[in-house]
Symmetry: C2
Subunit: 161 residues, 2 copies
């Protein structure tokens, strides 16, 4: 890895007791990062960190529903939600719910910032109803999973030239 491909590790913080905040810089244009986040065929290549990901529903517009099923050694895990906001190249906000805890949605918001030097900063926030739900997400191993997803995304972005 040389200077031009270096990316900072993800920075996870907890601004309030019901939120998570993650910043991660990717070594690719905002247009390319946006595509990797929003085109199902590309999304399926990194979101599951190497696990098979079936995108069962992906109505990418305000009010639309989405549903992914990830197949791992531990079985199938379903995730789903509904889009609250889709602002091209700028922001996606949606509910996010894991089948294992049905009826406990969080709000996931992802923002894309063009750093002007060919890199893109992605800021992800999650809002929960209660501190306990936020802490449950932290203890679920989400940070490791997230970093593995981001590494897979780095690799995909490098191939997308």
């Amino acid at each position: 890895m040389n200077a031009t491909t270096k990316t900072a590790p993800a920075k996870l913080t907890t601004p309030t007791d019901r939120t998570l905040h993650v910043e991660r810089i990717f070594n690719a244009s905002r247009e390319r990062v946006w595509r990797a986040y929003t085109e199902p065929k590309l999304l399926a290549q990194w979101w599951g960190r190497g696990n098979q990901l079936d995108i069962e529903r992906y109505e990418f517009a305000r009010g639309g529903h989405w549903r992914f099923v990830e197949h791992s050694d531990h079985g199938a895990h379903g995730f789903e939600g509904r889009f609250r906001e889709v602002t091209p190249m700028e922001r996606i906000s949606m509910t996010f719910e894991w089948d294992g805890m049905p009826g406990y949605p969080a709000i996931s918001t992802v923002e894309f910032e063009d750093l002007g030097d060919g890199r893109t900063k992605v800021t992800s926030t999650m809002q929960f109803y209660t501190p306990e739900e936020r802490d449950g997400m932290l203890k679920s191993g989400m940070e490791g999973g997230m970093n593995a997803s981001y590494a897979a995304l780095d690799a995909l972005l490098a191939k997308m030239s």
Copy 2:
């Protein structure tokens, strides 16, 4: 209305800045009130306050989805969510989302208490992500709509003997 059919008006309070709390006593057994809340054919007779209610989906178990469409003079309004908990005769908890504000679910929890004198107390709470969402619900006319639904439920319960 005589003494035996008297019910107290619904009591709406705001225990925290992100919650609503409603108590209402019904002049019927808990078993009858539970049926009116959980059997689609009965639910459709009071929830819409006289408006046609299409129950498009009603998977009444933890993890199941529900979706109602109410047809009023102002058009069709969709509501949907997912069951978090179903404890027969005691408690139903679910997400509740209006199509007009997609991605802004609230948690609706309904509890049923047998008052021991043939009446049943129903306690409904709603939890929101933010005070603004709670206040938006209050300003939407929900209290009037709720009281109209409860009056329709009174009438249905009286017929269910």
